[in-house]
């Protein structure tokens, strides 16, 4: 067991855990951030996607030892900037607008993967987005619509949720 320090959603975090503990378990069980969900637990489905230094990764595959000194962003932090304006992230708005959830367990991962894609300058084409999130449930078409009928970056009127 060692102490590991890193930033989660802009705030410093410190945990005393075995270095091989998965980032997923640290987030959910040690830090109480249960927005990140476990799907397959072996890096196939992407439900536990979070951003590590801005790159989308599966939190079930990252040992916490590799997170020391780095920056983690989870679905709880997705709307931080927008919250000051009293709104959600544009992606969350779009997911709500299009009803892009069925059971919802993969939704946080979908949001984070889509955010990484758009932040990296990815264009709003459904084909390219579908490659990132191969979910095939009934909500998949709506998810693709939500993630692609968007401006590529965050700026958006602050009164979107009125």
């Amino acid at each position: 067991v060692s102490a590991y320090r890193f930033l989660v959603n802009g705030a410093p975090a410190e945990v005393n855990v075995p270095g091989m503990r998965r980032l997923l378990d640290v987030l959910r069980e040690d830090l109480g951030l249960t927005g990140t969900k476990e799907g397959c637990g072996e890096g196939e489905c992407g439900a536990c996607s979070v951003l590590l230094d801005g790159q989308v990764v599966d939190a079930c595959l990252v040992p916490i030892a590799q997170v020391e000194g780095r920056i983690v962003r989870t679905v709880e932090g997705l709307s931080l900037a927008a919250r000051e304006r009293g709104s959600l992230d544009t992606l969350q708005e779009a997911f709500l607008e299009h009803g892009a959830a069925q059971c919802g367990i993969c939704t946080p991962g979908m949001l984070m993967a889509a955010r990484a894609y758009l932040d990296a300058g990815g264009g709003p084409t459904t084909a390219r987005f579908a490659k990132r999130s191969p979910a095939t449930c009934a909500a998949a078409p709506a998810t693709r619509r939500s993630s692609t009928r968007l401006p590529p970056s965050r700026p958006r009127p602050t009164d979107a949720r009125q």
Binding site: P18, G19, M20, R21, R22, D25, G41, E42, G43, E44, G46, S49, L52, Q55, V56, V57, D58, C60, L61, V62, P63, A65, Q66, E68, A113, A116, Y117, K131, R132, S133, P134
Partner: protein, 256 residues
């Protein structure tokens, strides 16, 4: 929660070598196999883990006199974004783009693909077809192993337990061509059903020389198709030669 053996995070290679020499230790770089496959499916949990993620000596992509050199910790995303790889080794860029989703490409490494030695490892036929050399090191020193001598049997490699993969060198011959094809159950994020890498040098009237045909997912290890190479070696790329090569390849694959 999967097993949580102790993990060391050295900053330098010599420290990593010391750990490896001290006893059974499992290196981890991107972690896509360790957490994904090994621990979930209750494979032997190692005594100790060795985190390679802070060792900068394992990073970098460089063009040297001997060819294109990639550090073992180079991720698939880094390969895809590398101007040097795009220019000199586009087949490897193509292969990297077919491996998993963005989440895997951001974490998985070339060295990990080699050490894991899955017969379905998508970059491995490229290493074979390109006559790549794998540089490994440990306290006993460094040595180069040709890719064709590296994969011994199912998931068994020439790497000793106290050695690490350091870098991979792809020689870049004048006029050398290299192509990659992968067939999976769908276009993205699928394990390969068959992977093929083909390399040759076209010398006009003399036909193709130095032909290499390498396959993944058809045998216990990634393999070279020697009989098919002999059909193509010194031949002109005509439809008849192609048919004979395909037939030879089909018979060879069945035999495996």
């Amino acid at each position: 929660m999967p097993a949580e053996p102790p993990i060391d995070t050295p900053r330098h290679l010599f420290e990593a070598y010391e750990r490896l020499a001290a006893g059974p230790t499992r290196p981890i770089a991107g972690g896509t196999d360790v957490h994904g496959r090994d621990h979930r499916r209750a494979r032997a949990i190692p005594d100790r883990m060795l985190d390679l993620s802070r060792i900068d000596e394992l990073r970098g992509i460089a063009l040297e006199a001997s060819g294109l050199v990639l550090g073992a910790r180079t991720t698939y995303t880094e390969i895809r974004r590398s101007a040097l790889c795009r220019e000199h080794l586009p087949a490897l860029v193509e292969a990297s783009a077919t491996i998993g989703a963005a989440q895997i490409q951001n974490r998985g490494t070339l060295g990990g693909n080699i050490a894991n030695a899955s017969p379905a490892g998508d970059t491995l036929p490229i290493l074979l077809a390109a006559d790549a050399q794998i540089l490994v090191g440990g306290q006993r020193g460094e040595r180069e192993i040709a890719a064709k001598d590296f994969f011994i049997s199912y998931r068994k490699t020439a790497l000793a337990p106290d050695e690490l993969i350091l870098q991979v060198r792809f020689p870049l011959g004048q006029g050398r061509e290299l192509r990659f094809r992968k067939v999976g159950t769908r276009r993205a994020q699928a394990i390969s059903k068959v992977v093929l890498a083909l390399a040759w040098r076209d010398v006009g009237a003399q036909g193709w020389l130095d032909v290499r045909v390498a396959l993944g997912s058809v045998a216990a290890t990634p393999i070279r198709a020697a009989a098919t190479e002999r059909v193509l070696e010194g031949a002109r790329p005509t439809p008849e030669v192609a048919d004979l090569a395909a037939e030879t390849l089909r018979r060879g694959a069945q035999a495996n």
